[in-house]
Amino acid sequence: MSGRTYLGMPAFPVEAKASTKDERLRANLRHATHTIRDKRARAVGELDDWALLREAGKRIKDHTLRHLDTYLLQLEDRVTAAGGTVHWAADAAEANRIVASLVHATGETEVVKVKSMATQEIGLNEALAAEGVNAYETDLAELIVQLGDDLPSHILVPAIHRNRGEIRDIFRAQMGRWGRPAPEGLTDRPADLAEAARLHLREKFLRAKVGVSGANFMIAETGTLVVVESEGNGRMCLTLPETLISVVGIEKVLPSWQDLEVFLQLLPRSSTAERMNPYTTMWTGTTAGDGPRDFHLVLLDNGRTATLADEVGRQVLRCIRCSACLNVCPVYERAGGHAYGSPYPGPIGAVLMPQLRGTTSEVDASLPFASSLCGACYDVCPVAIDIPEVLVHLREQVAAQPGHGAERAAMKAAAWLFDHPAALAAAERAASATRAVHPRTLPLRPAKAWTDSRDLPELPAAPFRAWWKQHRTTRQEPAE
């Protein structure tokens, strides 16, 4: 299960060329993103102090990132004191090794999982499968993705690209392979689909000895972890198993319990458009007779320290994975999540992955350009990440890599022309003078990329400069 990975994904425009023409995908995404977008706008609009909350969220995160070393050590101290064990993982491979060895130590060959972006990021399910351990996703949408041998395409709603009919077909065909089959005659009614998932998952919850999660927040002063979810599956995974392993990015730490009051308002309204989150589970180490006996926290770096070193790029570490930016993004809506080549699609993925993974692969080098810089993402971001600013900053890094010689030369030529007005005026006059013979389509990139779908403009008989020279002396009298 979960055989598909993001390895070797093509550049964004290549993948998007196909996905933009997939009409079912486009319809699913349009409906889903616009529905969540509108609900979020209403939920946020209810609060008079949203701008202040947003500013508070930004400042708390910036403060924490500035003193990350202090807060992480404090967190380790408190978690350890409360009976947990803290592991430090520099990268995905190390984190996967730690989790696999912890599972092996229990003697178990299966784990149940809470929806977790960090474990998606490191490819934990595939790594565990290679070690003979089955990792079962228990979030409804992650289950749909996993049963369909598919990849998630959205941070909050990973199966957003699937409609009800497709989900019913996946349940019917696949549930029996991994556990309790779908009920006979399963329909595509949402309540029936949810019931099928509930029955399928219930036996896994009751059997599992090991749970694996991420966390939305970690509180340094108390050593408490917080998971925010909507279905109750997380509560099951976090309380029933004997062993709990949580893999969490180092940027998820918050200094104090009181900081939660800001984020437990910002996150639900931004992500699910809810006033209050349905299932908020908090735990501190272990407690005798209550919940897991063994608790392990794997603190994940995987490129975060390098990102923190970048003065412009570090603001993406404020992200609380709400996915509001995906739901308002016109590019995401049309290209779909898979085109981004990682579990973090959309605007936040386009600024996060090129920093976490670097920009050497085709898809990572293309991500900073997968935006029209419309700014809708920045407007809705609950921690005010200026995504367009970071995109342009990352474009600069990509443009400095080999393979951009022709573009650099063209940009340089244009900049030279614009810095030499006499030459510019001559070029404009020449272009206008020959306009009768200009073609409407052009054969070579990048001009072809324009004319494949758009006519070239007809140039004017004369540029504005020429008009000005003729008219500048004939000023009209002011109108009274």
């Binding site: 016109p330 590019v331 809708a376 940009m411 900049a415 810095d419 990329a449 140039l459 109108a479």
Partner: protein, 258 residues
């Protein structure tokens, strides 16, 4: 009052009607307009594509060309956003790279004086009724940089509503990007075109004759798609027209297509 017109490179070379209309409109309102001929491009194509250092000579040129003018008025929200948001960043990065204060100073001297046309009309001149006459049905697309970076808000709509003879119809999904995005249009042509097609479908659904915008680069993309779509088809006529071309004409001197 004497102001400098920043025509922008796109309007100068490709779509001069918007710049001409801006001159006529401002003169009609009693503003003395100058066009410093040393101006060219704000450098946005270079900057937004990742070639910041190549935009630097254009920052210096802009600051020189418009030195001494109380206001620099431009019929392009996107170019104003480039100056207002990104010139200070270019200056700050040059400083951080140990290349001194020169670019930061150039940005600081120019940035506060550069205004988008509707900002100048509404905020400086204090007018929303500019005495224009445009007897057509119009729908307005607020381009992203004007809408979100500059926060133009209701200024363009207030100006349009006061135009004699104009019927303004609301554009569904108005705040959504048209898909132009500078070099995005050629680096991601399929997504760009998909966004443009939706924008055009929304505009057509209004029944308007004119799709108005305050940024000609967006209109260039939409107009190119409209003309490609309508080749050999009997679609209802829909044309893109810059806001300045709607605010400039009067009953005595009406708008003409030619």
């Amino acid at each position: 009052m004497r102001v400098a017109l920043f025509a922008t490179c796109v309007n100068d070379a490709v779509l001069p009607r918007a710049a001409i209309a801006t001159v006529r409109l401002l003169q009609r309102l009693g503003v003395e307009v100058d066009f410093p001929e040393q101006q060219s491009c704000c450098g946005q194509p270079q900057y937004n594509t990742g070639y910041r250092r190549q935009a630097e000579p254009l920052v210096r040129r802009m600051a020189r060309a418009f030195d001494g003018y109380e206001y620099v008025v431009t019929p392009s929200g996107s170019c104003v956003a480039m100056v207002r948001d990104n010139y200070p960043r270019i200056g700050a990065k040059a400083r951080a790279e140990g290349r001194g204060e020169e670019l930061a100073a150039a940005a600081a001297s120019l940035t506060p004086r550069v205004l988008e046309l509707t900002e100048f009309l509404v905020d400086v001149l204090g007018v929303t009724d500019v005495g224009a006459y445009f007897p057509h049905t119009v729908t307005y697309h607020p381009s992203c940089h004007g809408l979100r970076v500059l926060g133009l808000g209701t200024r363009p709509l207030a100006l349009l509503r006061a135009v004699e003879g104009l019927e303004l119809v609301e554009l569904p999904g108005a705040e959504e990007c048209c898909g132009f995005g500078g070099t995005f249009a050629v680096k991601n042509p399929d997504v760009s075109t998909a966004m443009g097609a939706d924008k055009i479908a929304h505009a057509r659904s209004t029944g308007a004759e004119v799709l108005c915008g305050a940024d000609n680069s967006c209109l260039l993309h939409l107009d190119g798609m409209l003309r490609r779509q309508s080749r050999g088809r009997g679609d209802a006529p829909l044309r893109t027209v810059h806001l300045a071309e709607i605010l400039a004409p009067t009953e005595a001197d009406p708008w003409s297509v030619a």
